[in-house]
Symmetry: C2
Subunit: 434 residues, 2 copies
């Protein structure tokens, strides 16, 4: 496409949806992105930029000056404009803001005063709010006459004189109601109001739980200041859930478009932490060096105890992390869930202990060794069950993300306890001596 045949490129891309054009940029190599943007010209609209992966967008934005960026963001709703501007460096942010017209600048500056990943950042300031005594007919006339209202809304908010939301009205209800009925009689008074400082993950849970399409955002005084729509929430749900997969593995941002330097730094940090925890396991083995010299079969079997224990711990941990993320695991049922995991661990532990014990006893013609590994396996799987639930719950109570680092701690516990139980029992049973 990029053989300098600009017209052909534009013809091919023209029928595509903005999101598809954005995808095209993600698929090509990073050094082809600027030439592609040049070839497509005006087809790379503000909406295409808004759809783009942030790392890919940064590649393109570097080539633009502040006034070009300002022109682009002025065409977007506040939430999309903020998403683009918040990624810029401080100096460039100021330059772009200076280029914006006063109204847009005020809206974006006020959005930037809220913390990242809160409702204040993801809300848009374009919404429709009306007083409760308005008639359905008057509302329709108002919507028809005011050209500067947003066209993208799914519900309207009904507010009191102090601009505090008192009800929500789906557009379908308005369309199905005669002109002479008051809005107050159509609206639903039961609402899910979102405080402007609420964490976006919490906002997403509200949308899921109450099946919301849009929600009113209020400030500390309870005044309506913005609206969040479900299409933005869809991306947040996807991102937060992906974050759990990636944090659990210590892969950082985990975006395939992230610069290699960032990925390296994010990942190597966890590998080094893992190195530190692996040392603990090595230290345990070192204590039993003499025992291993007497019976090398212990060294052969060690990884089995550690590996299966680690897997069992990871299973429980994944379940706990997701349950915490979805607010299903709370203080009131932690005890019950621990009991549940303990019973599953006993069942799993008993099954694996029998298999490994019999297998080892037969292969090494040593029933005592089979017994030792069976008991060690059972102990380690039960410990893994506790660690898999205890570590994420503790991190959560300490206001840390339970997905972060859980994996490294749980594996450290299962490795160390596995080696300790197995080698300790081997010595304790008199098979080998220290």
């Amino acid at each position: 496409v990029s053989d300098n045949d600009t017209t052909l490129a534009q013809e091919l891309v023209n029928p595509l949806h903005n999101a598809d054009i954005a995808d095209l940029f993600e698929l090509v190599d990073s050094d082809e992105r600027a030439p592609l943007a040049a070839a497509l010209g005006d087809l790379v609209s503000a909406d295409v930029l808004a759809e783009m992966n942030e790392h890919v967008r940064e590649d393109l934005m570097d080539a633009l000056d502040a006034s070009q960026i300002a022109d682009l963001t002025e065409q977007l709703d506040t939430d999309d404009a903020v998403a683009i501007i918040e990624d810029l460096e401080k100096g460039e942010q100021q330059a772009v803001l200076a280029e914006l017209d006063a109204e847009d600048r005020a809206a974006i500056e006020s959005a930037l005063t809220y913390d990242e990943e809160t409702a204040g950042r993801i809300m848009q300031r374009e919404f429709v709010a009306v007083p409760e005594h308005m008639m359905v007919g008057d509302l329709i006339d108002y919507l028809r006459k005011n050209d500067d209202l947003t066209t993208e809304f799914w519900e309207i908010y009904v507010v009191d004189p102090a601009f505090r939301p008192i009800g929500t009205c789906q557009l379908s209800w308005i369309l199905r109601t005669p002109r002479d009925i008051a809005i107050a009689d159509v609206m639903k008074r039961e609402q899910s109001l979102i405080p402007v400082n609420m964490d976006q993950e919490e906002v997403a849970l509200r949308f899921q739980k109450y099946n919301l399409i849009s929600a009113a955002v209020i400030n500390d005084d309870g005044r309506l200041i913005g609206m969040i729509t479900v299409d933005d929430i869809l991306h947040i749900v996807e991102d937060e859930a992906s974050e759990d997969v990636l944090l659990l593995s210590g892969a950082g941002d985990g975006d395939i478009n992230e610069p290699i330097r960032n990925s390296y730094i994010a990942r190597v940090r966890w590998l080094i932490a893992n190195l530190a925890t692996a040392l603990v396991a090595s230290f345990v083995i070192a204590i039993f060096g003499a025992a291993i010299e007497q019976m090398v079969a212990l060294a052969v079997l060690m990884p089995i105890v550690a590996s299966i224990g680690g897997n069992a711990g990871t299973q429980t941990m994944a379940v706990s992390v997701r349950a915490l993320a979805m607010n299903e695991l709370t203080r009131s049922n932690t005890r019950r869930i621990i009991g549940r995991e303990f019973r599953i661990a006993l069942l799993n532990g008993a099954t694996i202990a029998v298999l490994v014990g019999l297998g080892t006893g037969l292969v090494f013609a040593n029933p005592m060794l089979g017994g030792v590994i069976a008991v060690a396996m059972l102990i380690n799987i039960v410990i893994a069950g506790f660690a898999g639930i205890f570590v994420p719950v503790m991190l959560d109570r300490l206001d840390q993300d339970p997905a972060l680092a859980s994996s490294v701690f749980v594996t450290m516990i299962t490795d160390t306890m596995g080696f300790l139980a197995f080698l300790g029992l081997a010595v304790g049973s008199g098979m080998v001596s220290l």
Copy 2:
């Protein structure tokens, strides 16, 4: 709450949203659920059941007979009714269907003919479709007069005489348009039509990519037969992303409300698979038994090589699995992503190799041992990088879920190759002999 004080219980629960009442059932022990339902009586409406976790709902449904279940499902939209009925056993399904009135029965039976987790199962049959020559005013009159239309819709579909969708119209556009304009002039012709057999994960990706609020579902002839709304998609996105976390760890369904028996079976299967793969690693160690007897430090250091390699492999795997799930990793950029992961692996490998090599050389006062573990570490991290991307991509090309089983395979590769590289180099360097 459940001290037999029914009135108090009802008073406390009455102001709660349906979703909150459903949550209440999830929080209490499973043997308290039936008494709670009895105490709450009519407050446990069909909508509360629809909001409930499926395992919790099954607990309650067991106590109901077919006609009671039929009464409840008749109050729901087809998609929610199908979600309840599809979980019943075959015989009970038939009994419930027989109790439904003819129209509902036909709708639900036809939904059940589509495969699980496809658009046909999650769509609702209640939607608004109008011909393109209709005027906005006539449309509003039509909506006001027809009481049996659904009240929950966000867009209307414009269809040709053969009932094939030709455009979509947001309700906000209709409200902002004068009565004498034809719908054809307001609607958007660019649409995302969903084939009825499309996998729900694919449907969710469409919604995310094109920021959809609702989408028309068409049959093989292109006729409009249903509608999917974004609130259902939100649950699917959450479920599919959770599924990846849980499948990666081999934790099965991973729902904390799942019966223990099911959880045990799902998890122990993967532990046994893990046992089989751990045997491969043990076999490698067994080959080098003589070497370990000569230098027990090898046994002490082995877990470090395996553990960090495993972690590096898991990082790359998590990134690949998420990229595959979001359609970001395709045939056209696989080569580029492999190159990217290779470079990150080299950086990570070199960093860890230097740290581990120096540390080992100093602690054991054995520079040769330090060199051996450094090279083994580098090799294992690079192999981990390839395995972390190769295994999920292969599973995906074979039409398997890339999250499933990737973890067990990748760990097997990093364990085995780690031990092989480390012990093999120790022998090859002449430090120890076989």
